[in-house]
Structures are given as C-alpha cells and as structure tokens.
Symmetry: C2
Subunit: 134 residues, 2 copies
C-alpha cells in the first residue's frame, strides 16, 4: 500500500493510528505519550524518526506552538489553515481556509510575502477577551 521501499511495522502502525485520532494537531511530545499509553514499550526515538519519514512523505507537517514545541498537523487539512491562540483565555482554534485566505492576501499585499500560516501558532486575543478587557 504505502510502500516506497519503506517497511510496515507495528510501531509505525501505532503512531499513525494515534495521529489519525488526534485529527488536527499534536505536539511531538504528546504523541510520544499517547503512543506510550497505547503501548508502554514505545520509545521516543522511533516516534521522532517516524514523524520525519511521514513528513518526507507529505503526510504530516510540523510547525511550532506558542511555546516553541514541535507540533504536527495531519491529513488533508495540512494546507493553509492558521492556528490561533488567545493568550488571555488560553483558547486554541483555527481559521477556516477561506478566512485564512484573507490574511494571506494581506501579507501578499503588504510585502509580497507568501505566508505559510500553518507553520506556526499566532498569538493574540480573541474577540471575547478583547471586549472583556475594555
């Protein structure tokens, strides 16, 4: 199936399984933990190495969260969704592609820059918290 000279091992299966049910984003460290609850013998290096492979295959993409930790996005939604984080209420959510497009357009207009918003989490304040503050 997904072989390009790659091997299909139980641990890869496990990692992909965990990735699948974590639809959206997970930090690498989180992933290690979740794998470990699933199979306590899981070892970090394997997880990290598998993530590298998956990234090469284009199945996941890594970015960095607010605190700088590696974060992975899975599946077809790997594209242009932006990650938002409210530093007041701690909320995390994402922008739908259409909405993200407007922001991308702004970057383009401002500096001829093609931003890859999926790579990082943008920090700020959500509408609710902003209104609450004033």
């Amino acid at each position: 199936m997904r072989e390009r000279g790659l091997r299909w091992t139980p641990q890869r299966r496990a990692i992909i399984e965990v990735l699948a049910e974590a639809r959206g984003h997970v930090t690498a460290a989180d992933l290690v933990d979740r794998c470990r609850t699933l199979d306590p013998t899981t070892v970090p290096s394997t997880v990290y190495r598998t993530l590298d492979v998956l990234e090469e295959l284009g199945l996941v993409r890594h970015g960095h969260g607010t605190d700088g930790r590696e974060e992975f996005h899975v599946g077809p939604a790997v594209a242009q969704h932006a990650h938002l984080y409210c530093s007041v209420c701690g909320g995390r959510w994402e922008l739908t592609d259409e909405r993200a497009d407007a922001v991308l357009a702004a970057f383009r207009a401002a500096d001829d820059f093609e931003a890859d918003l999926s790579h990082m989490t943008v920090v700020g304040r959500c509408g609710a918290c902003r209104r609450a503050a004033s």
Copy 2:
C-alpha cells in the same frame, strides 16, 4: 535612574549593552554567547533571569523564532512589527508597523482576532523566491 527597587549590577549593565547593540532581535542563547565573549565569566542563569526582569519592566519582549527558540525584541520597536522568514532563501526581515497593520486588520476581519505578530516569526516565501520558483 531605572530603579524600582532593583539593583544596578555590572552584569545587568553588560546584558543591556549587548541588547542595545543587537537592535532588533536576538535569541536568548545568542545573547548568552555574546555576553560571554564580552565577559567570559557570564553564566546563563543570570542572563535568563535578567531577561525576565527586563521583560517585566517592558523593556524587552520575547517571542519564538522559526525553530522555536526564544527570541527577544528590544527597545521602542517592541510594538507591532511582524517578523518574516523566507524558508527558501533564509532571509529574515520585518514588516513596518504600517504594513503590519494591514495584516492585523485582516485577522480582525477574519475572526475578530487581535493578533500579536511581534510574538512569532511568520514563515513563508518572499516575493523574489516565489517568482524564481515559478
């Protein structure tokens, strides 16, 4: 002068000096190194602690670079400038406040979100690299 119950020590002086001549942004680790070349006895903990203090005073602000490392912005330009990074050519630069404003407006319009662009580096492709690619 800048005392609010704080003490003026040689090592703080050194750190501020280094910060000053690094106008713009430096990673914390970089800062430690530069301080060490200036005074080899410099120890990381002092630097990090001083940075915390300076941040509390509002003199610096920390964010995270592309690789997730802590990065500090100094001086009056602490405000709303965005950090851009081109993953193709490796270029780094920033958006002037006026230009950044347009992007902020887009975030506001898209999701009623007040982004703090100064907190992170946005990854993408600069105009030149984009054109070169196509």
